[in-house]
Symmetry: C2
Subunit: 426 residues, 2 copies
């Protein structure tokens, strides 16, 4: 195998023990919060029919699909979890209790150009509430997200949630610019999502490109961009038609966030629309307060995804929370824990004939839940001690001929250096 | 999306909450045992360079590879975990402490013809000891396997471990039939592994096929098949050269298994050679005692894999333990647990204006670690109770205007039907 091939494929990660401890530490916090919020965990294949993910709205996520033909089937590595979860719900809809609260923790793949800090896979905590129409569902999800931030040790205020409503934007545009072309709202959102990456001029240009999926007049494109710059809910509501239901929803959402005591960390931001075509209502993204990192997590309401997939209409809201950006943020705050390997004991038989006795000791100690190594190949005592130190073991159990005769092991505590004889309990 | 596409790709599984609880129950037992045996968990990408898995020995696992070209790279879904773990070890060999004990729990893919009970993916617990030359490592792994059987509730004797040594077979054949063609030993093993599936005649025929990878004389092929029928270690040792090191190793292995108190469940079986080309020494497979299922798990020593991958020679032994056959076995024994959803409380605000109070209650209860749902959309009380029953909730917390005024919630215990007022703790 070529030397370069010792690395995993470009943009993917190996998880050595210390890496995996960290990943599991993060997701165990997500699991604990999901448990408190009464979510049930599910899982779907990492390979799906490509058809589940291909949509025609020009989304990046579809362009970056890892897809391939194999034995006449068109398959894809999932780029996100929501479509799989929607598919599962549809396949059993009659037998499920709604609203359901499901979460999944899994790997997603995107074939993107490699830049610093970007990867082609990440693990993601996905939580979905399916079958609830009111913004109380959005509020629950946001509360769950802040609950994880708190558990990870992030100080209050270090992460801001930016919230908008696609429905509000849609109502506003449908009452004006898009009055005659409501069908271009989804591709318009896909373009608008690029705002923070490419800037207002480029977005306006894409929106007015006559060969593009939207192709509105240049002055209309400018008006759209202006609408997005609003960072004040009242001003956004003024731009919307009177008695806008989505404006009322946003007001209710903030009132609920008050009860969760997180509203001071949630801000309205009309530029947040998210890059997925299927969102229909409230959308949100969390960012570090310093604004130096990409979105920590994001989600929104997608009340029409089930119809798009050929199912019955079903209100739904969800989010994805990846393992990459949060680790950068925690590192910036010095909050990544040192998670050392638990190694309670190393058992060493000084002679080959004493191995059965060493095994008896190891079995006994393991039976009490301790993490125990047996020295497997012949070794010198001095090397065993040095190695046990290096491994961070707590104790070494030494079985020599003399110990065997007296029915004991010689136990050295590696923290204190103390030694004593210990009897094998029955 | 086509109706049939509501199912995951053929041969793959969705894990609904009850399925995932079962899968996690199984792997948590594996993790607990791995912890006691001082293994550290690692993980590698599910997509690797195809080159890592392609070998020329005619193995099924290579023929069944899910592989594809994408942007000029030849990638594959991993069919097994060992090569990825070997690659990781090679990429950091200088910085690791040996012998290392690593385990991984992950999904593997094989594109095989679909028959009853066969799938194209399975999850597998993989444990490897790398850098230990003696059979004490094999004994540790076998003990870990039986420790899991015990934790799962399988009665002693319900699973048998069949053990052989490829080295013993190799020594025996190299002293005779393969004296002049030692290089065909690995492909010979790949064919011999089909014995239980296709029978002795077909194996003898494949071995003597002049167009095949082995092509030995028909009488030699018959002698090989005869060697495989031996189920008695002493008889197998008699066929081997005098002072055979691998015969001595097998004897030592059984002595160690005595100390682990599992030797009565381990039998010598010369027909076990395993289907992977890279095994070099002891090989083993666990089967249900009734002999009705495929192998529950299997593994062996692979001292030359690191060289094959272009690295330094490194003794190593490992096994894989999948999630599919063990579930069939547990089901046969009536040992699959009923794992219900934990749902401690449902909180219900009788009026929209009372939602903030319901949220306060939910936060309080969640803060104590309880799993708590909030009723998200308006509902009638009667329906909430019926639904809570169906969901298996323990208690319903009811917030009405009267309760709010008195600073309490009305709590109904769904097991006893008792109701009482409870004050929100500070």
């Amino acid at each position: 195998m070529a030397k370069g091939k010792l690395q995993p494929p470009r943009g993917t990660r190996d998880f050595f023990p210390e890496d995996l401890r960290l990943r599991q530490w993060f997701f165990e916090h997500c699991r604990a919060v999901a448990h408190q919020f009464a979510f049930e965990e599910v899982d779907a294949p990492i390979v799906e029919h490509a058809e589940l993910f291909t949509r025609k709205a020009g989304e990046e996520i579809v362009e970056q699909l890892y897809h391939f033909e194999i034995h006449g089937r068109h398959l894809a590595l999932r780029p996100e979890l929501t479509p799989s979860i929607a598919r599962m719900v549809m396949s059993r809809a009659g037998a499920l209790r709604f609203p359901l609260r499901w979460f999944a923790i899994g790997q997603n793949w995107r074939y993107e150009r490699m830049t610093r800090g970007r990867k082609r896979e990440h693990y993601q905590w996905n939580a979905e509430i399916i079958g609830a129409a009111e913004v109380s569902a959005e509020a629950e999800l946001m509360a769950a997200i802040f609950s994880v931030f708190g558990r990870l040790g992030l100080p209050p205020g270090s992460v801001k949630l930016r919230v908008n409503s696609r429905a509000l934007l849609e109502e506003t545009l449908l009452a004006g610019i898009l009055r005659k072309r409501p069908e271009i709202f989804a591709p318009l959102c896909v373009i608008v999502d690029k705002l923070s990456k490419i800037g207002t001029d480029a977005v306006a240009q894409l929106l007015s490109d006559p060969a593009g999926p939207v192709g509105i007049a240049a002055s209309d494109a400018r008006d759209v961009v202006d609408l997005l710059s609003v960072q004040d809910l009242e001003a956004a509501v003024k731009n919307a038609p009177a008695d806008s239901p989505s404006a009322r929803d946003l007001g209710r959402l903030f009132a609920l966030l008050d009860a969760y005591e997180i509203s001071e960390h949630v801000v309205f931001d009309a530029s947040v629309v998210r890059g997925l075509a299927y969102y229909t209502g409230v959308v949100f993204e969390a960012f570090d307060a310093a604004g130096t990192l990409r979105a920590v997590c994001g989600g929104g309401r997608y009340d029409r995804l089930f119809e798009t997939l050929g199912g019955k209409s079903m209100p739904a809201v969800g989010f994805g929370f990846g393992d990459v950006v949060i680790q950068e943020l925690l590192a910036d705050h010095g909050l990544l824990p040192e998670l050392s390997r638990p190694l309670d004991a190393i058992v060493f038989a000084m002679e080959d004939a004493l191995r059965p006795e060493a095994i008896r000791w190891a079995r006994q100690l393991r039976g009490t839940g301790q993490a125990v190594e047996i020295v497997l190949d012949p070794a010198r005592l001095k090397r065993v001690y040095a190695d046990a130190d290096r491994a961070g073991a707590r104790r070494v159990y030494l079985i020599g001929p003399d110990e065997l005769e007296r029915g004991v092991a010689r136990v050295r505590d590696l923290q204190t250096g103390d030694e004593r004889d210990e009897k094998l309990p029955d």
